[in-house]
């Protein structure tokens, strides 16, 4: 058979499934790519593989039991996830958190941001194609932080350490020196990554100008966290609505310019330096005192009402919308996940890019699928 001339150069789009079980999707996430040659024409993300109904489960749990489930919604930054939950409960129950507990919470949240961003740096290295080296280096730095968390709370990832009103128990006596020890290795780790990746010409050629999103589009898609700051929007809940003691310490909001993959990476790296700065100031101002209010009721009861509390988790705004009708458990709980909103912009960022860059874009929004699906 002879091919007719008008059909000779016609190409056909190809559908490929990435995931649900794929190492570069950072969890159980499936995206269907329509590709023309090597260029992505369309992306359809499918989520929900990790849905465990954490929000609904929390409606059957009292406030002490519920915070354990928040750990599981955002396992890379469990302190930050717990913080939103306990702050929502405190707002409804009218609890005053002691100073010391607030400073410790702040230190732990920032340390958790560091450990989460290290995880991002390592995983992003793999997405770019530098297998092994940055991943293992990041793991080394993260390990030091996680060991510290284990000494404080007893668990390495699911801390269950923040309680409505304060903390579960006090930090160990050598807390300050241990944190300073960890910060020393962290600072070295950030410097290593700066030299290993940021200044590397191959890495820059691979990441610059890829997956660009403008500030307007990023706002329209409801992105938050480092992903929107990379586009030049100085949106940070810690600065907009300071919670804990963020108004009392001196730090900068890091913003990027181009909103490409490199900026999203570099924003996180610079943000880690700010976190170190915040922790150092917190350590200086941490004084002895009580960690739970003196008049803590044995069974916590919330006043009827509803509250929305948002905090800045490593991946963006982690919000808890809690409705109470009185009693010791929430009537309705809704988690506003930063990952889910950031993920919505995936299509816009990866269309007309190469297939390999679509993976890069997905990695650059630092996705945690358990937070997307809850």
């Amino acid at each position: 058979m002879v091919a007719s001339p008008q059909h000779e150069f016609e190409t056909q789009d190809l559908l490929i499934n990435v995931g649900p079980q794929h190492p570069s999707t950072h969890g159980v996430f499936r995206m269907v790519l329509t590709i023309d040659g090597e260029v992505v024409k369309d992306v359809v993300p499918y989520i929900g593989y990790l849905h465990r109904g954490a929000e609904k489960l929390c409606e059957t749990m009292d406030f002490r039991q519920g915070s354990g489930f928040m750990d599981r919604t955002e396992y890379l930054a469990a302190h930050n996830a717990e913080l939103s939950y306990v702050m929502a409960v405190e707002a409804l129950a009218g609890l005053e958190v002691p100073e010391r507990a607030q400073w410790i919470r702040m230190i732990l949240c920032e340390l958790n941001r560091l450990s989460s961003h290290f995880m991002f740096l390592g995983a992003f290295g793999i997405d770019v194609g530098v297998f092994g080296t940055p991943f293992i280096y990041a793991w080394r730095e993260r390990e030091a932080i996680i060991d510290l968390f284990e000494e404080i709370s007893g668990d390495r990832m699911m801390y269950a350490y923040f309680r409505p009103g304060g903390l579960a128990w006090d930090v160990p006596l050598n807390f300050k020196e241990r944190v300073r020890e960890v910060l020393k290795s962290t600072r070295q780790g950030i410097k290593d990554f700066d030299e290993l990746l940021t200044q590397n010409e191959i890495f820059r050629a691979r990441t610059e100008g890829v997956g660009t999103i403008s500030a307007e589009d990023a706002i329209d898609w409801g992105m938050s966290g480092p992903s929107i700051r990379a586009s030049g929007v100085p949106l940070d809940v810690r600065r907009e609505e300071p919670y804990l003691k963020y108004a009392d310490v001196d730090w900068d909001v890091i913003t990027g310019e181009n909103g490409d993959v490199f900026d999203r990476y570099y924003c996180r790296l610079l943000e880690m330096r700010e976190s170190v700065k915040i922790i150092e100031q917190c350590l200086e101002r941490l004084e002895s005192g009580i960690i739970v209010p003196d008049k803590m009721p044995r069974m916590l009861r919330a006043a009827p009402g509803e509250v929305y509390i948002r905090t800045e988790a490593p991946r963006g705004e982690y919000g808890i919308y809690m409705v109470s009708k009185g009693g010791n458990r929430p009537y309705r709980l809704k988690v506003r996940s930063a990952c889910l909103s950031n993920l919505q912009a995936l299509r816009q960022m990866s269309v007309d890019q190469y297939v390999a860059d679509a993976i890069l874009v997905l990695g650059s929004i630092d996705i945690v699928l358990s937070e997307v699906d809850r």
Partner: protein, 163 residues
């Protein structure tokens, strides 16, 4: 090219660092005393019986419902000629370690300080071939503290920490 050379210098300098990994099954690092593995029951050495009276407080508070508790009259009670002041005592106790999410709630609600989180390596190395083997009965839950293998840690709450 300068950037690439610098990156290679980082990897080179890592060669000179001390290793951070250890040969795990042969070497067990020391666990912090707050380490939370799975819950187990504590043994009252003074009267030689468990602290637990089977009051169901932990069973009711458990968010994942991994516990089953049954109580009985204490045969060792003073009224029957024994030396214990516990009128009721634990009869049967199961904890499904496969369901437990190690949230520490059971330890906090216990009125008799009878339950604690295992902070030894026995609490972590629990590989079994069958999930049913992870349902621990009373004897298994008590064996570690009966043999004196657990170092108890009492949380510091509600008082100033000198710093």
């Amino acid at each position: 090219m300068r950037g690439i050379a610098k990156s290679l210098m980082v990897t080179l300098s890592t060669f000179a660092r001390k290793p951070v990994t250890r040969d795990y099954p042969n070497y067990h690092r020391e666990l912090p005393e707050r380490d939370r593995a799975f819950p187990l029951l504590l043994w009252d050495k003074e009267v030689d019986e468990p602290f637990c009276t089977g009051c169901h407080a932990c069973e009711r508070a458990c968010p994942v419902e991994c516990m089953t508790v049954l109580m009985k009259d204490n045969p060792n009670h003073k009224s029957t000629g024994g030396n214990s002041s516990r009128r009721k005592i634990i009869d049967k106790f199961w904890i499904d370690y496969a369901r437990c999410m190690r949230c520490n709630v059971c330890v906090e609600v216990c009125n008799f300080d009878a339950i604690a989180m295992n902070n030894t390596w026995q609490g972590h190395e629990l590989s079994v071939h069958d999930r049913k083997d992870l349902v621990m009965d009373l004897q298994q839950l008590l064996s570690l503290s009966h043999g004196g293998g657990i170092k108890e840690w009492v949380p510091v709450v509600g008082q100033a920490n000198e710093q």
